[in-house]
């Protein structure tokens, strides 16, 4: 009755693909990641991703030469959308890879010291961060600092870690009184051992599931900051800022706005479906 790796993989895939639509999510996510990694080299007009001007070709509607048309100064919009993918992906990955460990440490340390001053202090600080409407916290941080990609990532991280702190705290504080943790402690295991060897493995699948589910929201948040002018600055392309600049030319030059918007929707949809599939696979409740 021992399960081989093949059995595990087969069952994981079955659970993942149980609702067929999550397979679509996987395809979108893989396609997006590939484009984010190599897209800059395969787009029809790589030079258009940076500062490039061609007034003779300005504001062309979509055609075979320019799939998504050209912008106000003649750059190929399709190339710029694909060019923006790398930062979009980077935004999601970096924000989650910083906020998840930070939140984990805060939550797990508080949970380990359950019902002590450290618990109260850490979790109250977490609650204070949760008490500020997320976008406003991000706007405040981003505005105090220079508006650029790095700082907008920092701003989103500042509002994101408390969620992971809550998650880790929940697991840690419920495991704290479990016998095997108490025994480990009695046999002389220190806090780092208990946190990383006993509690972390129990949190991991919930944390990873939450990370895949959060990816789409982080991307939306990044696009929103970029829409507000606090993300990647010109001449580098960003999906949010492309929309905010395009809105002024609606509805005549609709392609300025519509294609970046569709790109965001498809990417976020892909990650949300992917996250649903992963949480089906892990058997953890998505919400």
């Amino acid at each position: 009755m021992r399960e081989t790796w093949r059995d595990v993989l087969q069952r994981s895939w079955f659970r993942y693909s149980e609702s067929k639509i999550t397979v679509l999510g996987l395809i979108i996510v893989v396609g997006f990641i590939v484009l984010a990694l190599i897209g800059r080299h395969v787009v029809p007009y790589p030079a258009h991703i940076g500062s490039f001007v061609d007034f003779s070709n300005a504001s062309q509607p979509p055609s075979l030469r320019h799939l998504c048309g050209t912008d106000l100064i003649g750059r190929d919009i399709f190339s710029r959308i694909v060019g923006a993918f790398r930062n979009t992906l980077l935004m999601g990955v970096i924000v989650l890879c910083i906020s998840a460990p930070v939140g984990f440490i805060v939550g797990v340390v508080a949970g380990y010291h359950r019902d002590t001053l450290i618990d109260t202090l850490l979790m109250r600080i977490t609650d204070i961060f949760l008490a500020i409407p997320p976008l406003i916290l991000a706007l405040a941080v981003a505005s105090v600092l220079e508006p650029n990609m790095t700082n907008s990532m920092l701003a989103i991280t500042v509002m994101w870690w408390p969620w992971y702190a809550r998650l880790a705290y929940g697991v840690a504080s419920s495991l704290r009184t479990e016998n095997y943790i108490v025994y480990a402690e009695l046999t002389g295991a220190g806090m780092p051992h208990i946190i990383f060897r006993e509690i972390l493995p129990n949190c991991l699948s919930a944390m990873l599931t939450k990370m895949t589910l959060d990816m789409g929201y982080v991307i939306i948040m990044g696009a929103t900051l970029s829409y507000a002018g606090l993300g990647e600055q010109a001449p580098h392309p960003a999906l949010g800022s492309m929309i905010s600049q395009g809105v002024k030319y609606m509805p005549q030059q609709w392609w300025f706005t519509v294609f970046p918007a569709v790109a965001i929707i498809v990417i976020v949809l892909g990650f949300n479906l992917f996250g649903d599939g992963i949480s089906n696979m892990m058997g953890t409740d998505a919400n």
Binding site: M1, R11, F14, R15, E18
Partner: protein
């Protein structure tokens, strides 16, 4: 209350009943042609290891199986009527006043966000034949609570499940099941989630109520002691099949099936002898059950025929049935 049309026959007759579950696209064949009866006023036991399909059997009787369950064949007759063929009205009538179920874990069997009063009165409202007034229903409920030895029924009625202990919740569940006027009590390992003294109290309570009210009982348990104490007939289940059945005393004193014999061995005896042996191996994978006898992979005396063919159903002495190739061939 509707009276049974078929007074003479058994109150419950399960015939060659099979149920499969769709688990992640694979079919898990949990019940494989089980058959047993409960006569009126009889107390019948259903024994087996965890995961052998006992709870599935109970749920099938009340037609409350989860959505991924598929009845593959056979029938469950309640008062002579096939449960799967019942109209909605007949089914409700059967559930209201025919059969009542006591769940294994009392803390999950009561809705956490409604008071006992709300849940109890709702059940009674639909179980009562005419429109009884709220006051009357309340009186019925408090009386039932007193009859299960719960002090201060008024306070219990106002309580929410989280305010009651496990034993109290189990008693409330029993009160709800009997107050509606059931004739067949389905008890799913009552009290096993509670500590031993409480479990004992609950069992005594059930036995007393059953005798006082002349109920029929189907008691599911993995504990032989419980079954011996409170039943007159017993069915031994293994992996979704009934392997042996008969009067409790016969089966306990003279087990015929190797599995039953092994089960008896597992019970530590106070009267010395060797330490309990346990049964090596485990319940088979239901998605690919053994072709022949389901116990064959674990049976120390298994022979070729056991792996290849389903065992025949034999009557070894009046009322004592067993399904085993070894018995049919006169070995053992």
């Amino acid at each position: 209350m509707p009276t049974a049309e078929n007074k003479s026959g058994p109150i419950l007759d399960v015939r060659d009943f099979s149920v499969s579950f769709n688990v992640y696209g694979k079919f898990s064949h949990v019940l494989d042609g089980i058959a047993f009866r409960v006569q009126r006023g009889e107390r019948v036991g259903l024994v087996g290891e965890s995961g052998c399909g006992k709870t599935t059997t109970l749920k099938a009787i009340l037609r409350v199986l989860p959505g991924n369950a598929i009845v593959k064949g056979g029938e469950v007759l309640f008062d002579g009527q096939d449960v799967s063929g019942m109209s909605d009205a007949a089914l409700s009538a059967m559930r209201r006043t025919g059969a009542g179920m006591i769940f294994q874990d009392p803390s999950s069997a009561l809705n956490p966000v409604f008071s006992i009063e709300s849940q109890f009165l709702t059940v009674l409202k639909y179980a009562a034949p005419g429109g009884a007034s709220g006051k009357q229903l309340y009186a019925v409920a408090t009386e039932a609570l007193s009859s299960v030895m719960l002090p201060d029924p008024d306070r219990i009625m106002k309580s929410f499940p989280y305010q009651l202990s496990g034993g109290m919740k189990q008693r409330v569940c029993i009160a709800i099941a009997i107050a509606a006027g059931c004739r067949l009590l389905l008890a799913d390992e009552p009290g096993t989630s509670l500590d031993v003294t409480i479990q004992d109290q609950i069992l005594r309570l059930i036995n007393r109520l059953v005798i006082d009210r002349g109920l029929s009982v189907l008691m599911v348990s993995h504990s032989l002691g419980v079954i011996r104490q409170s039943t007159s007939r017993v069915n031994i289940m293994y992996a979704g099949t009934v392997v042996e059945s008969g009067a409790t005393d016969d089966v306990f004193s003279d087990p015929k099936h190797p599995y039953t014999a092994a089960l008896m061995e597992c019970v530590p005896k106070l009267t010395g002898g060797s330490v309990a042996r346990g049964i090596p191996g485990r319940v088979p994978d239901y998605t690919q059950p053994p072709k022949g006898c389901r116990f064959a992979p674990r049976c120390p005396w298994a022979r070729d025929i056991c792996n290849g063919q389903k065992p025949p159903h034999l009557e070894v002495s009046p009322g004592h049935h067993v399904s085993c190739h070894l018995v049919s061939e006169g070995i053992q």
